[in-house]
Amino acid sequence: MGAAFDTIAFKASLCDGCGDCMTTCAEVKQGASRIDIVPGATENAFELAICRQCGDPKCAMVCPSGALAKDGGSGVIGWDSDKCVDCLLCTAGCAFGGIAVDPSVARVAKCDQCGGDPACVKSCPTGALEFRKAGSLYREYGDKEDLFVPGLSGCLGCNSELIMRHAMRKIGRNAVLATPPGCIPGMGSVGYNGKTGTKVPVFHPLLTNTASMLAGIRRYYDKIGRKDIVVMALAGDGGTADCGFHAVSGAAERGEKILYICVDNEGYMNTGMQRSGTTPYGSWTSTTPVGEHMKGKTQDAKNLPMIMAAHKCRYVATASTGYMEDLYDKLDRAIEASFEGFAYLHIYSPCPTGWRIPSNKVIDACRMSVETNFVTLWEYTPATGIRFTRSPDNALPITAYVKMIGKYRHLSQEQLDHIQAKVDEQVALLRIMAAESPPPPPAHRPPAPLSAPAGSDSSQPSLRREISRN
C-alpha cells in the first residue's frame, strides 16, 4: 500500500479568528507559534498558515544542508537543528508560510504535529481545526484483506461501498453477513445465479427479518460454543426503520448479540428513490414528489438511533463517512459490544443519485450535514448514556447543507425554517440527554428475596390444572 498521512485540517467557515490555537502553540513550543491565523480576503474571514507536510516538500528541496526531510512513518517534515545552517532559504521555498523564523531564537521553526496529538486542534473552540487521522486508518487497514468482489456496481460517489469494504476489512473472515434487499446486495454483495460476491458467508434475509435471522444464527453458534463469530447486518434504513423494525426492536429487547449496521440513505433508493420513515421533511422522493399540490415529504424523519438508545442496547452510535476516524472508533466499540449484546451503528450515507448530488461532493455533503447539526455524532451505552463524539456547538445554519442537495431544491423559506427548527429541537433534546450524566451506581445491595406469603403452598400450580380451569 502507498503512503498516507494524518493532517491538520482547517475549516475557514468555522474560524472566528480568536487566536487560541496560536497562543496554545506558542505556550507548548516555548517560542513563536508555528500556526498562524491571518486575515482573509473579506471581513471576518480568516486563513491558515501552517506547514502542510507536503508530499513534495519545496522547503526540503531548497535546503542546502539536508536539515529538512520528510519522515516516512508520520509524514511530518522534520527539522534537524544540528544540520541547519540558518540560511533561511526554506522560508522562501515554502509557498504556504509553513516555515518561518522564530525571532526569539533567530532560527526557523515549523509544525511537527506535536507527535500526533496537535495542541492547537485541542484548543480550537469552534471546531475549525481538526486533526484528520484518515491516513493512519488507510495505513492500518490498507493491507488487510478486502472481502468483497472488485467492481461492486454501486452508483458513482456512493459511500455504501466504502462502508462495506471498510467494515469487513476490520471485521475479517470470521463473520456471517446479512445484507437485506436494497442497494447493498443490489450492487452484488450476495452475488448472482449461484455465485457469491463476498468471501464471508453472506445472505439476503427478507427485508423484514434481518435481525431475527441473525438472532437465530448467533444463538445456535453460542449454544455450540462458537462465540467468536461476528454475526452482523449491513442493512438499509427502510428494512430497519420501517417494515423490519419489529425484528430489530425485538432482537434489541432480547439483547441478541448482533452487530447491526444501518446505512441510512433516507429512502428506498434501490427501488427508485421512494420515501421511507427516515426520509427527512421536505425531501423530494419519487413517492413524495414536487408539484402544485405537494412539495416533498410532509412528515419529519423518525430518529432511529434515539429509538434504539431507548431500547438500552449494549451500544448505539451514529456515524458519518465524512468522519472516518469517528466511524472507525465506533465500529471497534460496536464489534466488541456485539459479543455482549445488541450493537447498533447508524451511518448516514448520502445517495448521490437519489439526492441529486454530484458524485464528487458526497463527502462534502457528509461533512456539511454534521457541521450544520443535520446529523449529530454521538454514542450511547447503558453505563454512560448519550455522549456527543463531536460537539454540536457552533453549528452552521441548515441552509449551508440543504443547498448542496438537489432533493431540497424546491424548498420554500417556510420549509427551510421548519427544518432548522426541527434540527434545533433534535439537538436540544440530545443535549438534555447527553448533559445529564448518570448518577454513580448505588452501593450494591442485593434485592430482598421474594418470599412466599406465609402459609401458602409455594409450589407452582401445575400447567394442566391451569388449562383445565380454562
Binding site: V176, K195, P201, M213, Y220, A247, L463
Partner: protein, 406 residues
Amino acid sequence: MNKILHTAKTIVCDGNEAAAWGACLSRPDMVAVYPITPQSSLVEYLAKFIAEGKMSADLMDVEGEHSVLSVLHGACLAGARTYSATSAQGLAYMFEPYFRTPGLRLPMVVSLVTRDAVSPTCVWGGQQDAMTVKEVGWIHMYCETQQEILDTIPIAYKVAEHPDVMLPVNVNHDGNYLSYGVARVELPDQAVVDSFLGEKNVNWHACLDPERPMAVDPLTGGAGGVGPATFVRYRKGQCSGMQTALQVIEDAHADWGKRTGRHWSPLIEEYRMDDAEVALVTIGSMTGAAKDAVDEARLDGHKVGIVKIKTFRPFPIQRIAKALSKVRAIGVVDRAVNFGWNCGPVFQEVLGALYHLPVRIPAMSFIGGLAGADITVEHFTQAIDRTNRLAAGEMATLPVWLNEND
C-alpha cells in the same frame, strides 16, 4: 397383535401436550414460540419442558410469528434442528418467511394447530389456515389422534431431513378437538427416537458458517442467460423433493412402526374399502366420527368405506385414485372452504386425482366443522345418505354445509 415395544411411559394428555412431547423426543436445538389460540398451551409445555431440563433446546420467545420462523431460518442455516407451532393469524403473519422455507430447502418441522382464520372473527378449530397455504411447498401431514400427533413429529423430522427431500414439514392437528381433547398416549423411549432419527445434518446444502463460506440464496433469474434456467433447476428440485417424499414418508412410517409397534397409514388410510360401493373422503380428527357412521351404515346394509388422507402435501394422487377407483359415488368432507371453486379444498384435490381414472365417478363436497363446530356421527350419516343417493343417480349439488342448520 401390535405389541407395544420400548414404551417408556404412558400418560394422559391433550393433543398440544402430545405435540410438545413429540418435539421434546426429537431433540431440536432451537425452539421459537409465540402464543396463539389454540396453540398456546403447546408452547407453554415446550417452555416448561425446557425450564425443567427435559429439553436442551434454546427457547426463543420472540416478538411475533414472523420472527418465530425467521430466527429458526437463521438457526437452521447455522446447523440447528428446529421446531415451532402456530395457528391461523399466526400462520398468516408468518407467511413471508413461511413462503421462503421450502425454497431454501430447510428441513424444519412446525406444528399447525388448525383453526378458522379471521374474519368472521373466530378462535376455534377448522382447517382454513393450513388449507390456505397448501401450495407453498411445505409437506403437510394431518393427524387423527393424540398418539398420532406425538408419533408423527419424529417421523416428520426423518422425512424433512432425508437428503433427497430436504423440505419443511407441517404436522397438523385440529384445534379444539385434538389440541384440547385428552387421551391415553404412549411415550416412546428416548433411545428409540434417537436411533430412529440418527445424526442430524440440516445444512449440508446451504449454510451460514465462516468455515464453509458461501452466498445463501443469491439473486437468481433475469431476462436471459443462465438466470432463468438456474431458477428452473431450483424449482424443479423442489418438485422432485416433494415427489421423492411420498416414498420417504412411507418408509419412515414403516420404520417407526417397526421400532414402536405403532403402524400409522403414511399417505392414506382405507377403512372398509374392500367391497365399498360408496366412499367418504376425510382428513384429520373428524375421521373417528366418520368411522362410527360408516359402521352404523354397514349394519343397515350400505357398503360404505372411508379414505382418510394423512399426507395432503405432496398429494398422493395415484393412491387416492386407486383407492376410489371401484366406488360408484364419493362424498368428500372438508373442514375448510375453497372460495374459488365453491367447495371444500380436499374435494377439489380429489377431483383432480379422479381425472387419472378412465371412468367418471360422481362426487360431492360436504363442508362441516367450521369455527369449532363438531362434525357428529349424524352429520356423517347425512353425508353417507346423500352420497348413496348420488350413487343412485341423483344430481350432485355444491356444496353441502353440514352445520348450517345445527
